[in-house]
Symmetry: C2
């Protein structure tokens, strides 16, 4: 921002520009918008930022964010606690919950193994997953990491760790997305769709 | 967001979704990012939001945002205070200052006249502009509102108000953008470029 802008506005712009998906131009637009808010609206935004830090922590079982002792999913007795879906991030739980089909519970890794980015297995919530399995009562682990290099590698690494514990480890199916068109499918997706074909 | 998300995170997402250019999906991504910040980073963001409200106000002359009594541009004696560029918003000042060519001062309207959106001349900083002109020392007013229906109407409205005061009122030139191509220019821009042609 130009020198003509007051320092507090420049500082606010810099704060917004640090957030994911917001460039300098958007950050400046948002900072001006905050400037135009009334004091109550600005306080509500600032309070929401501080509040999320004070009250939200990780669920002691699944490592998802929660403001309770145990998250509502782990606390739900109608769900199948013997089936655990392992995901990269809390956002993935929101996506899977939207299907309204999955009745098991979750485990959030909070990242993927990525040697290039310096993320090792110790940085993820893998030991917490092993502790849950060792505590007993789990029959199947569904590896639901993304179908990317890091996602596949993490799924493979964890499955190797879990197999000796006598637990069944499965992976999400990969193939054509519903509503997609063969013509626009990439080669690897199409190959996976052929390889994993089912009898009808 | 699904019910599986803790309330403070949902509230923070809603706060971000109110900001310009941020949809629910981006807001959720940003809320998770804030969750992953450490406490100092979150406090810096919240403080920047509150601080901008406490310390930034309108310059008593040009109505631009400033944290001083008079903004640095109005306070600069090397600038030509007889030349006032009238703009819609503070962002426009940043854009014009980037040219490094304009040496006059500014006046921010904080909006455009827009009957459809219920914005009348009284909602803009027009009386502050009239007061500056009546105080004397101003020779020319450059109307630098956007070349849109509302921008043109506002420029025309203000020029009608100012002409009886004996001040020269000009409008930004419209034509082909530099680096643009005739082939891709819209009809109105091309028409303006033809109409405003200059001898070489």
């Amino acid at each position: 921002m130009a020198e003509s802008n007051p320092l507090p506005l420049v500082l606010l712009t810099e704060q917004f520009a640090k957030l994911p998906g917001i460039g300098m131009k958007s950050a400046q637009r948002i900072a001006y918008h905050v400037m135009e808010m009334n004091a109550d609206e600005a306080k509500a935004l600032a309070d929401a930022v501080m509040n999320v830090h004070k009250t939200v922590h990780l669920c002691k079982y699944c490592q998802n964010y929660t403001d309770r002792h145990v998250c509502p999913i782990c606390d739900d007795n109608r769900r199948d606690h013997s089936l655990v879906c392992v995901v990269q991030s809390p956002q993935d739980i929101t996506a899977i919950e939207r299907t309204n089909e999955y009745k098991g519970v979750y485990h959030v890794l909070h990242g993927l193994i990525s040697p290039l980015n310096g993320i090792s297995p110790d940085d993820l919530k893998i030991k917490e997953l092993l502790a849950r399995i060792n505590a007993g009562g789990i029959d199947e682990i569904i590896m639901a990491t993304n179908p990317t290099v890091d996602g596949d590698a993490t799924a493979y690494y964890i499955s190797k760790l879990l197999k000796p514990l006598g637990v069944k480890v499965t992976r999400l199916a990969f193939g054509l997305p519903i509503g997609g068109q063969l013509e626009y499918a990439d080669e690897i997706t199409l190959y996976k769709a052929l390889e994993n074909r089912n009898e009808i």
